[in-house]
Amino acid sequence: MAIAAESIGGTPNPNKSFGTILEVRDVVVKFGGIVALDRVSFDVPEGLIVGMIGPNGAGKTTLFNCLSRLYEVDEGDILFDGQSILRNQKHQISQLGIGRTFQNLALFASMSVLDNILVGAHSGSRSDFFSDAVRLPWVLRENRLSHARARDLISTLDLEEVAHIPVAALPFGTQKRVELARALVSRPRLLLLDEPASGLNHKEVDLFASLIRTIRDQNNLSILLVEHHMGLVMKVSDRVVALDFGRKIAEGTPAEVQANDSVIEAYLGTVN
């Protein structure tokens, strides 16, 4: 990855505006007898990176799936920009301005990198099947714009060499970058990243940290980041939320959470 590494470190984000972009209110999700989320509440302030940590099975991905409306919320509410998103359907979420990546990769295996990213632009474009079929001029214009944006991201994320290769044949780390590009192409305002650094080695994690911050700064993004790589979480997060057994057990600055006893007991272990 050839990402400029200027903005490594915890320099405060100049775009910070202190509005709240996402409010999670007392969310409960149950699967049969299992309570995966138990009255979880927290906010993501606009322009900040909020890290979310917690043991395996704590409910982090479940929360993401609620935000994407892939899972139904049993109780509680989720507000984006002050509006409940629970009235929206899954496909409307990206249009609201929430983009995401997936923990276990969810790429379109047969498509090329470029096409994968272009699907990400779906919600940002308007053409319908008829205008597509007869190539109306405005469709071509729109298409050119999506392509330009995708090309931009391809070069930012250093994917040029593989732009036309079907994603299934790419190494894991590259696929993760494709997912990131796909999430970014629709210019989301809130980005949900589910374990973006898993499978990366130490150097790659460092590069990734700076990449996230650059992207955030350039696009005025807010980010909710789930990660087990504590180094990364501590480095990039402005705030951290910790979950355990579906409950929020701590919230605060990275340093506060890292020092929290319940977090150490449930998550970090004593050696760290």
């Binding site: 395996n56 276990n104 780390g173 898993s198 499978g199 080695n201 087990h228």
Partner: protein, 237 residues
């Protein structure tokens, strides 16, 4: 003493693409070897080659016998367990069925039951999720399941492809503890691919560094840890 596993000049192919360009490495009886390398270096491919999962050339010997060209299932039946990249969960089966499949080749029912309890002891969360459809487990739970399933084989050699993948820090420590204990108590040898190089280097006696399908450096872990480039790229200090 013959090496437990010995790869000589192994090349591997995805269709026409050559992903390994002649790898040689060996794992001693009872030893732990780690393979490091950047994304796409060929670590996973090396493990796949050993298990006969892709087209390969060269020689692969297990306990002195050539296993090159054997079917994957026959390799497994020799006592080689593989925790694959991406976990390879049987998504529609339950947690317990996944574990039972791990012991498919074994006939010692009682010991299997014991091992099942042992795995549940290592990963209590799996015990709670016994009847849950494995595909709905969280990422980390599935990773535990993959490791548990490999243990159910009672292997003599374990191939571990990023066992810490997606696991919470505490569980990672736990898993490395388990690996060490299995290695020490049961004499299980291990070939470990791991991004958390610091932990891997602590556990292993030998390390191999791969770059674009070739071994570029190897040696015992103590000396390797001293290496400047390894420190900056993999260990981060």
């Amino acid at each position: 003493m013959v090496a437990m596993l010995e790869l000589k000049n192994v090349e591997a192919f995805y269709g026409p693409i050559r992903a390994l360009h002649g790898i040689s490495l060996s794992v001693e009886q009872g030893g732990i070897v780690t393979v490091l390398g950047a994304n796409g270096a060929g670590k996973t491919t090396t493990l796949r080659a050993i298990c006969g999962m892709i087209k390969t050339t060269g020689s692969i010997k297990f306990e002195g016998r050539e296993i090159f060209g054997k079917l994957t299932e026959s390799v497994a039946r020799l006592g080689i367990a593989h925790v694959p990249e991406g976990r390879g969960t049987f998504e529609k089966l339950t947690t317990e069925e996944n574990l039972r499949l791990g012991a498919f080749t074994r006939r010692d029912r009682n010991a299997v039951a014991e091992d099942m309890d042992r795995v549940y002891g290592y990963f209590p969360v799996l015990a709670e999720r016994r009847e849950q459809q494995a595909g709905t487990l969280s990422g980390g739970e599935q990773q535990m399941l993959a490791i548990g399933r490999a243990l159910m084989l009672r292997p003599r050699l374990m191939l571990l492809d990023e066992p810490s993948f997606g696991l919470a820090p505490m569980i990672v420590q736990e898993i490395f503890r388990i690996m060490r204990s299995i290695n020490e108590n049961d004499g299980v040898s291990m070939l470990l691919v791991e991004q958390n190089a610091a932990l891997a280097m602590d556990l292993a006696d030998q390390a191999f560094l791969l770059e674009t399908g070739e071994v570029v450096m190897s040696g015992d872990t103590k000396t390797m840890k001293e290496d400047e480039s390894i420190r900056t790229s993999y260990l981060g200090y």
